[in-house]
C-alpha cells in the first residue's frame, strides 16, 4: 500500500517538474528520461541476464524509423503505425535472438555489433524511405483520440514510459524469470541442470528488452521530431554500457543513477575540460570495474547501511 503511494507520488513529482521547466531545460529533461528508459531495459539485458549486446540503440532506431516511416511515408493512422513499429521491433529482435543467443560469450557481442552496424548502413543508404544521412524531419505527433499531446504533457508521457519500464522490469526481476536470468548469467550449465530452459530464457529476455528499446525509440522520435542515423550508432551504445557499469550492473537503481549521472555530467564538465570528459568517463568505467563492481548503487547501499541501526546481523 505504502509502496503504491510512493510510486504515485514519484510519478506525480517527476511529471510536475515538466510544468515548471523552461524550453532548454525541458529538452534536457526529456532526453534524460529517454536515456533512463533505455538504461533500464539495457540493464536487464546486460546487467541481470549478462548478455553483452551492442544492438540496443539499433532497436531504438527500428522503433523510431518504423513509426515515422509507417505513419508519414505510408500514411497509416498513428495507432496502427505505433503497433506496427513495436511488432517490427519484436520480430527483428526475435530473428536476431534465435541464432545469436546460441553463441557463447563475446560472440554475442560480435553478432549484435554487426547487426547494429548493418542497421546504420541501411538507414544511411535507404534513400527516400529513410532520408539517408540527413534522416527524416518535419513530421509531428498526430492527435490521438482528439487529444493533442504537446508541451509538458508530452514530458508526462515520457515519465510514464520510464515508470512503466521500471514497473515491468522490477516485477520480472523479482519473479522466477528474473532468478532464471541471474542463474544463467552466473553459470549457464548449472542453470540448465536446475531445469531452466536456457535458450528460451535468453531469447525472451533479448526480444523483450529490445522491444522496450524500440518503445523508447518511438518516444524519442517525437521529442525533437527529427531522427537521423548517428543517434542510433555505436557511440551511444558505449555510453549506455558505461552508464550501467558505473551505476551498478543488474540493479534498476544503478541504471537510473548511472544514466542521470553520465547524461548530465557533460553539461558541467564540458565548460571545464571540453571534450576531455570522455576520457574521464573511460577512467570511471575502468575504476568501477576494478574497485567498485557493484557501482554507485553499491555505494548507495553502503551509505544507507551506515545510517541504519545495526539491529539485525
Amino acid at each position: 500500500m505504502i509502496r503504491t503511494f510512493i510510486w504515485i507520488a514519484a510519478i506525480i513529482a517527476a511529471s510536475a517538474i515538466a510544468f515548471v521547466l523552461g524550453g532548454y531545460a525541458t529538452d534536457v529533461y526529456r532526453k534524460m528520461l529517454i536515456w533512463i528508459a533505455l538504461a533500464l531495459s539495457y540493464n536487464f539485458l546486460f546487467g541481470t541476464a549478462g548478455q553483452v549486446a551492442f544492438s540496443h540503440f539499433a532497436f531504438a532506431g527500428v522503433g523510431a524509423y518504423g513509426v515515422v516511416i509507417l505513419s508519414t511515408k505510408l500514411g497509416l493512422p498513428f495507432g496502427i503505425a505505433f503497433i506496427g513499429a513495436m511488432a517490427l521491433c519484436a520480430l527483428i529482435a526475435f530473428i536476431v535472438a534465435v541464432p545469436s543467443t546460441r553463441l557463447e560469450g563475446f560472440y554475442l557481442a560480435l553478432a549484435t555489433l554487426a547487426f547494429a552496424q548493418l542497421f546504420t548502413v541501411l538507414i544511411n543508404e535507404g534513400g527516400d524511405l529513410t532520408g539517408g544521412t540527413g534522416g527524416i524531419a518535419g513530421y509531428s505527433l498526430p492527435s490521438i483520440f482528439g487529444l493533442q499531446l504537446r508541451g509538458p504533457w508530452y514530458t508526462v508521457v515520457l515519465v510514464l514510459l520510464v515508470a512503466g519500464t521500471l514497473l515491468l522490469l522490477n516485477r520480472l526481476d523479482n519473479s522466477s524469470f528474473g532468478r532464471a536470468c541471474r542463474a544463467i548469467r552466473e553459470n549457464p550449465a548449472v542453470a540448465a541442470a536446475m531445469g531452466i530452459n536456457v535458450r528460451r530464457t535468453k531469447v525472451i529476455t533479448f526480444t523483450l528488452t529490445s522491444t522496450l528499446a524500440g518503445l523508447a525509440g518511438i518516444a524519442y522520435a517525437y521529442t525533437d521530431n527529427v531522427i537521423n542515423p548517428p543517434v542510433f550508432g555505436l557511440e551511444n551504445v558505449f555510453l549506455l554500457l558505461f552508464m550501467i557499469i558505473v551505476g551498478g550492473m543488474g540493479r534498476p537503481l544503478g541504471a537510473v543513477v548511472g544514466a542521470i549521472l553520465l547524461y548530465l555530467a557533460p553539461f558541467f564538465l564540458e565548460p571545464i575540460v571540453g571534450h576531455g570528459y570522455l576520457v574521464i568517463f573511460g577512467i570511471l568505467v575502468v575504476l568501477a570495474i576494478l574497485y567498485q563492481p557493484a557501482g554507485l548503487a553499491g555505494l548507495i547501499d553502503r551509505g544507507l547501511g551506515l545510517l541504519r541501526p545495526r539491529s539485525q546481523s
Binding site: 555505436l234 568505467v285 576494478l290
Partner: protein
Amino acid sequence: MEDFLELTVSATASGCIYALMALSYLIVLRPTSIINFAIGEWAATGAFVGVGVLTTLLWPRLDAPYPVAVAIVLVVLGLLGWAVERLTVRPLVKRGAPVTSPILALLGVLVIFRETLTLLFGADPFPSPPPLGYRRLEIGPFAGAPQQFFIIAVTLTIFAGVWYFFERTVWGRAFEAVAINRRAAALMGINLGRVTALAFAAGAAVAGMAGLLISPLTSAHYMMGLPLAIQGFTALVIGGVGRVEGALLGGLILAFAEQLGARYLPIPSGLTLAFPFSLLILFLLLRPTGLIAPREVR
C-alpha cells in the same frame, strides 16, 4: 584483366592490414580468452607515434629514418600493452572476476585512448610519409602503390615470425599450453602472469604496426581505430580463432569480398559497407569455428 590485377594488389594489401588486426586479437585471445576491442585504438596510436617520429609532429626537425620509426612504434606500443595489462587486466584475473570484466574494462581503455589522441592531435588527419615514395611500382604483371607492396612484405614477415614463435619456440609452446588448459599449464610451471603480459605487449605491437603501415594510405586520424577493430575481428571470425594462418586467410577473404563486391556487383557503393557485417553474421551463424579449425588437442 589489368584492372583485376591492380585490384588484386590493393585487396591483398588491405587484407594484410585486416590480417594483422586479426593476429593482434588472436595473440591476446589464445592464452587469455579475452577479446580486446581496444586494439583499434592501439593501431591508431601506432600510426600517430609513427607519424610523430617520421615528421616534425612531436619534435621539431626530428624526421627520423623509417626503421627508427618502426622500432619506436614497436617499443612504445609494447610498453603500452604491457602497462594496460598490468593496470586493468591482471587485478581482475587475480580476483577471479568473470571473463567479461576485463573485456568491459578494455572498452573503457578504448575510449581513454581514442579521446586522449583527440585531445593531443585534434580532429584533423595527419599525412604519413610512405617509406618507399609515391611512384607507381610494377612487379611482373602486378602494379600498385609501393606502400601496398611494402604492406604485403612486412605482413608476411610478421606472420612468419609469429608462426615460428608459436610453432618452434618454448615460449610459443607455453602460449599454446595456456590456451589449451590454463590450470594444467600453471601446474607444469608456466608463469601465467608473464604469458598474459607478453600476449598484451605483443598484441599491441602488432596492432601498432598495422596502424603505422596503413597510415600512408589513409593518413593518421582519431577515427581510424574502430573500423580497423571491426574489420580485424571479422577477419578473425572468418579465419577461425585457433590458428595463426586463419588470421591471414580471414583477412584476405574479407578484403577480396569487399573489393570485388564494390567493383563488380551492381549495387550502390554505400551498400558495399554492409558487406563485412553480412559476412561476419553469416560466419557466426554457419561456421562459428572459422575456416581453419583449431588443432586437435592430443
